[in-house]
């Protein structure tokens, strides 16, 4: 896991930033040469984009989420982070949709020169990473730089990124991070963790550093020591959020559930609804699949390799000389769900799902990963009961 420096003493109670302190945080990160990416209202959604100032944060905006449904709504208060996942995730920046991997030139005598794409000097600061999304970043780390072959460009972007986690106090109707063990409280891996507090005493953020560079940034901001009331209020807000999850997963070992239900009838049911459009894979913060495209210019002597996001729902995804392996919608939805909840463990020793709910919101036909998992669980219970009844 990339870690710029050893974590400092975080046993301290942290400090409190007010709204001006948030402004100072963005200025400080920018002054340190970082591109600050955070949530902002654009095109009828809360998107992740470069922030020039903290005033671009979605103060006073919330979201209304359901299967296949996303609406912005005005809040009665001025909270900046009282919204859950939008259409993008941090993978848009760490594992971008399209990257050039190398260029090649053929010389007059046919000689071949291949040049690796020089790593871009990206130095991001991500402001407003939700705990579930922090886990999603860590899951992509395992895929991209945790195995025998490391993606150097990803590592550059990742190790350079400064992460400001904001704990979740306002889960959406499609959220289930508690089931996945990823939120709503911040877990290790952040440079700074913030918890937003709004009450009669004012609008403020309880801030803690997770790394030395996080502490250094915090020390440069106008702040005050964290008082008991703010800490209590912040902790209570997060604890209450844990009780307000809109969705749950069945309380079973999901890896076993998926391994045992490969031939379930439920796959036919969901296949009848699934459009195999791949939206869930694009919105998912951990889905990492890509396709390489080799292109040439008009001279034919200059070639490039580009890597772009790809979806396991694409028919060509499993292309072999004899035809594609997974042609039915049933097999392609099953691949996505079994990978996400089950075989991801075998491949990368973690779940591939963090409970952010994006796949539910951005599915045009409102297929709900939690509903499908519950249905598989019910079917397997029923089958087991049936088998027991039928036993001699």
């Amino acid at each position: 896991m990339p870690s710029a420096t050893a974590p400092p003493d975080t046993g301290s109670a942290g400090c409190v930033l007010d709204r001006d302190g948030m402004g100072a945080l963005v200025r400080e990160l920018r002054a340190r040469g970082r591109t600050v990416i955070g949530p902002t209202v654009r095109d009828g959604a809360i998107v992740l984009a470069e922030l020039e100032s903290a005033e671009e944060l979605p103060y006073g905006w919330g979201v209304e989420l359901e299967g296949g449904h996303y609406r912005l709504r005005r809040r009665a208060d001025a909270a900046a982070f009282a919204h859950s996942a939008g259409p993008q995730s941090w993978k848009n920046f760490l594992h971008p949709e399209r990257v050039r991997q190398w260029t090649a030139d053929r010389g007059p005598d046919g000689e071949l020169t291949v040049r690796a794409e020089p790593p871009a000097a990206a130095s991001f600061a991500f402001l407003g990473v939700r705990p579930c999304d922090l886990r999603a970043i860590q899951i992509q780390d395992r895929v991209m730089i945790g195995g025998p072959h490391r993606d150097d460009a990803y590592r550059e972007r990742r190790t350079g990124a400064f992460l400001v986690v904001v704990e979740c106090t306002e889960p959406g109707a499609t959220c289930f991070c508690v089931s996945m063990g990823t939120g709503p409280a911040a877990q290790p891996g952040y440079d700074l963790a913030l918890t937003e507090v709004l009450d009669e005493t004012g609008h403020r953020f309880w801030a803690r550093a997770g790394t030395a560079r996080g502490a250094e940034v915090l020390d440069s901001l106008p702040r005050r020591p964290a008082d008991e009331a703010t800490q209590d209020r912040a902790r209570r807000g997060v604890a209450e959020a844990a009780g307000r999850m809109g969705r749950t997963m069945p309380p079973v070992d999901l890896r076993d559930l998926l391994a045992d239900t490969l031939e379930a009838r439920r796959w036919d049911d969901v296949a009848a609804r699934c459009l195999t459009c791949g939206n869930c894979t694009m919105a998912c913060p951990t889905c990492f699949c890509t396709t390489s495209e080799d292109i040439t210019d008009l001279t034919g002597d200059h070639a490039e390799r580009w890597r772009r996001w790809e979806s396991c729902y694409d028919l060509d995804f499993t292309h072999l000389p004899g035809g594609s392996v997974r042609t039915s919608a049933r097999s392609r939805y099953r691949q996505w769900l079994t990978h996400k909840l089950g075989t991801w463990w075998d491949q990368f020793d973690s779940s591939g799902c963090v409970g952010c709910g994006r796949c539910i919101v951005w599915c045009p036909v409102a297929i709900d990963i939690t509903e499908e998992a519950h249905a598989l669980h019910q079917e397997s219970l029923a089958d087991r009961a049936g088998a027991a009844d039928g036993a001699p």
Binding site: R106, H149, S292, D294, T296, V325, T343
Partner: protein, 267 residues
């Protein structure tokens, strides 16, 4: 190098069958790390694209690949004249792991182009006869014209080599039938045999079933599986077979792992 291809030049290109060529590649500068039998390379035809190809032979830094021209890239590679520059990445994936079969009878079963990744294994085994028991090589192909490396078989020397074709052609005096029928002719002690199987998936399953039936333990049946190896570095997701990323966990896996996965349609 695993992400960026290294330049190699085509040293030799000879037709193997009507649609299949064997090419020998020599590094232009730095050579890739050594390949083990069973591993594969990603071979890039300039401006066309890249495909996974198993190594059919290695000699110092040179790589031998036997390629059937079925798509744009494989046809370009089959047509590459000596001197042509290509790009190569690798080595990738698991090998046959001959070392783990020390002292055991070796049974090599190949279907069609499946003989290509088995060729370096057979050569390695034949060159170290004292390391193992009997070596049997069973070769099947659709027609006599699809048989690979015919001129080499006698050079392999010691192994007991049996050949069969699905459809005979005029002049064919050998056996006709599926490759599993050759198992009855081969002498091996099932419980201390390691089998190495490569070919179309249906042939792999039929062969493995026949071997299990004879008492060869599933984990000693090593099979080489094919899925869409696309990036070869475990990052693109295309080559998944259930829990396996075949570019990383395969292509060679024990049949104890492969059997339940191959039993599920469209997994």
């Amino acid at each position: 190098m695993t992400a960026v291809p290294l330049p190699y030049r085509v040293l030799d290109n000879r037709p193997e069958t009507a649609d299949t060529h064997t090419i020998v590649l020599r590094p232009v500068g730095t050579a890739l790390p050594p390949f083990s039998p069973g591993q594969f390379a990603m071979v890039y035809a300039f401006g066309v694209g890249e495909i996974p190809v198993s190594v059919a032979g290695t000699h110092h830094g040179d790589l031998t690949h036997t390629i059937r021209g079925v798509g744009a890239v494989s046809r370009a590679l089959c047509a590459a004249r000596p001197g042509t520059r290509v790009g190569v990445r690798g080595p990738f994936g698991t090998g046959w792991d001959l070392e783990a079969a020390v002292g055991r009878d070796l049974l090599v079963v190949a279907g069609g182009l499946g003989l290509a990744p088995l060729r370096p294994l057979v050569r390695a085994a034949a060159s170290q006869p004292r390391d193992h028991g009997r070596l049997n090589v069973l070769i099947g192909a659709r027609t006599p014209g699809d048989l690979l490396y015919r001129e080499e078989w006698q050079d392999w020397g010691r192994p007991y080599c049996q050949v069969t074709v699905d459809q005979p052609a005029p002049g064919w005096r050998g056996r006709v039938g599926v490759v599993t029928a050759l198992l009855d002719q081969a002498a091996f002690a099932p419980h201390r045999t390691t089998a190495f199987v490569c070919g179309p998936e249906v042939m792999i399953r039929a062969t493995a079933r026949a071997l299990l039936h004879r008492g060869v333990p599933a984990r000693h049946i090593r099979v080489s599986l094919e899925r869409n190896m696309h990036c070869a570095t475990g990052h693109c997701g295309h080559c998944q077979l259930g829990p396996l990323l075949l570019c990383r966990d395969g292509p060679v896996v024990g049949y104890d792992r492969a059997e339940p996965l191959l039993a599920v349609r469209e997994l």
